[in-house]
Amino acid sequence: MTYLPISFRQGLLLSCSLVLSQPSSAAEPAAEATEVPEATVTQATQDSELQGLVDRVKALEDTVELMSTVQPSQAPATVAPAPTAARPEASNLDVALILDAAVAWFSQESLQTGAHDPSDTGFHLQQLEMSLGENVDHIFELRANLVFSALGVEVEEAYGRTLALPGGFQVRAGQFLTPMGRLNLTHPHTWSFVDQPLVNGTLLGSEGSRGSGVEVSWLTPLPWYADVVVSATDPAGECCARSFMSGDDLGVRTPLDFVYTLGLRQFFELTNDLGLAWGLTTQQGPNSTGNGNRTEIYGTDLYLRWRPASATSRMAVSWTLEGMMRRRQIPGGLRVDTGAYTQLVWNLNPTWETGLRYGYVSGSPEDDLIPEATDDRHRVSGQVTYRPSHFSRLRLQGSRDNPLYRDEPIWVGMLAVEFLVGAHGAHSY
């Protein structure tokens, strides 16, 4: 007794695929008879064609019938042997490597605030970012961003996120960049400039604002996009919570010892080609200057993007404005600092891009966090970017950094390259 290596069901599917493949192969000989002019088609060939059509209709009828009796997810695989079969989606972990490197020149000692900024004259490995992610199951996805630098490996982000909770809710848990402002949620390779804006480095941290914690967001049922988000994160870390506990980890005793971020993100489609995103955010938590002292940061951001969808050049112009105000309780008083940046970026086509940015942060002689910053600081930067493809870019950037507490402005020149390999998730708007 021998066993056939196929089950009844497989046999059914096989016959289904045979039925469907027949008409198309039958059509092929006809396709080769290309030199037959229309006028010479005889009655006989017309009849045989009609019969062919009838057969084809019958085949389709059978297919419909079969398809309604078998599992819909299995039927397609037989209709056309899917080329993706060799790349099963169930275990398709997205892995991408992104390398950012730069050579820089500074006219005097630099004051760069970002952890991945080129910080002195010479060559720099800004970062080697490894980005991983995949659906865990039908409820969660896992995303991780590991950054390899000259100092070692750093878990920039690693979080699980729900895919479809009811009521428009979404929960993230793990370590993540907090939803404080617009740029903070993004990684350097999506930025339009080589370095981080002054306000982000000064008020949030050299790595931006991030921490271990949990975040809940709610997509409201309003007719336009309005998303409310709240997160609670650990208050310590010089890199990523510098306005809060920064380098002093005094531990968490009450729920008030966490950093809370609350935000409202909205989007208005002004025309088909013009969109406006508007965010309002605040961050509140303890600071390390004394028992019970707290810090509040308030921010707003606007992003206006004009992209004529039908332009064959694929050009786009986007304008960003992001401003923040920080109130810190310190022994014997309250310090208020502000900072902002605005940038205009013009993508002429997929290959060329240029942009202009102005940034500012306040300073004062009483600043305890950056004693050197006794006065305001202004910086203007311009960049030109060349992209041979979506996966590589070359960026030339020049800046005039003017901290009013220095005698001379700092002139900066940077040439940065970026290479991306692997499957990297698409970016949000």
Partner: protein, 315 residues
């Protein structure tokens, strides 16, 4: 008198309230709510509308004059997806650059991978140019295969059948109508495909030789029995280099090619220059159905484009 007036107006108020209640009830329990379907491309929208008839309410996320590889993932699209019962997309990585963030952000279980309304149309077609050895040095290649299969009504017919089965699952009350309509649509498309292929065969070999801009027309070329010695782009998705354009020019001269075919969303500068130099013509092939503005159905779009292309080649 005053009391009377009050009673009278109170009565009227009650009457209004009654009418309002009835209206509200009518609004909240429509006789049959159409299934909300969001598609990534206008061709898919036109096909869903053709198969689903009045039982579907279709929105397309991109327009026919837009390059479907590069759609901005606008948050307004998140709202559309959040309220959808079904997501129909092209697959083969056509939307890889913009659909995934929308899907995660919309938090709608129905449209997530494996959800009840998740429909990848590419799983039902015969894919051309699948290339597992694809490397990015070759350009913007889709390893799963060429994603522009809906330009060919024979593939559209297969998707129609599969759509009918899926819609029947989601709208069980209309099961027989949907299966029947899907079959009818598929038959119509098959017949049309045959008829047009026959018509194009009447063209001379010279007339059937064309240059295309992007590798997006391989299914049309296969269906209509055209011949395409070269593309204007040397590598898909990468702007053509001057030396490659020179090779295209030579080929056009040598083989007496008189037509360059390309979609509206690709730049025309290079094609126009080439056409001027060899006295050829640039034919703009519509990237999709005029669904959002004209409610054009998929079969109408195929018929329209085939006729226009035939007209250009036969001249």
């Amino acid at each position: 008198m005053v009391r009377f007036a009050f009673v009278h107006s109170f009565d009227r108020l009650l009457g209004t309230a009654r009418v309002m209640t009835v209206l509200l009830l009518l609004a909240s329990f429509p006789a049959q709510a159409a299934l909300k379907v969001v598609t990534t491309t206008p061709d898919l929208a036109a096909l869903v509308a053709e198969v689903g008839g009045d039982h579907v309410d279709v929105i397309t996320m991109s327009r026919p004059d837009q390059d479907p590889h590069y759609v901005d993932p606008k948050p307004s699209l998140v709202v559309d997806l959040a309220r959808a019962d079904m997501l129909v997309f092209n697959g083969l990585e056509l939307e890889i650059g913009w659909l995934p963030p929308l899907q995660v952000n919309c938090r709608n279980a129905a449209v997530q991978k494996g959800g009840t309304g998740y429909f990848d149309a590419s799983r039902y077609v015969k894919v051309m140019e699948a290339n597992r050895e694809a490397n990015r040095a070759m350009g913007d290649i889709h390893p799963g295969g060429n994603p522009h299969y809906l330009y060919d009504p024979r593939e559209g017919a297969k998707v129609a059948i599969a759509l009918g089965a899926k819609l029947a699952e989601l709208i069980p009350d209309q099961r027989s109508f949907l299966l029947e309509n899907a079959k009818k649509t598929a038959e119509k498309l098959e017949t049309m495909a045959e008829r047009e292929a026959e018509r194009f065969r009447s063209l001379s070999a010279d007339q059937r030789r064309v240059i295309t801009y992007h590798r997006s027309l391989v299914y049309v070329i296969d269906w209509l029995g055209l011949e395409r010695p070269m593309n204007v782009e040397a590598r898909p998705g990468v702007a053509p280099t001057p030396s490659h354009v020179a090779r295209v020019l030579n080929t056009m001269r040598r083989q007496k090619i008189k037509t360059i075919v390309q979609e509206r969303h690709y730049p025309t500068t290079t094609s126009n220059t080439l056409a001027r130099m060899v006295k050829a013509k640039v034919v703009v092939y519509p990237g999709g159905a005029s669904f959002a503005d004209k409610k054009e159905l998929y079969s109408q779009r195929i018929q329209r484009t085939a006729e226009a292309l035939y007209g250009s080649l036969a001249r």
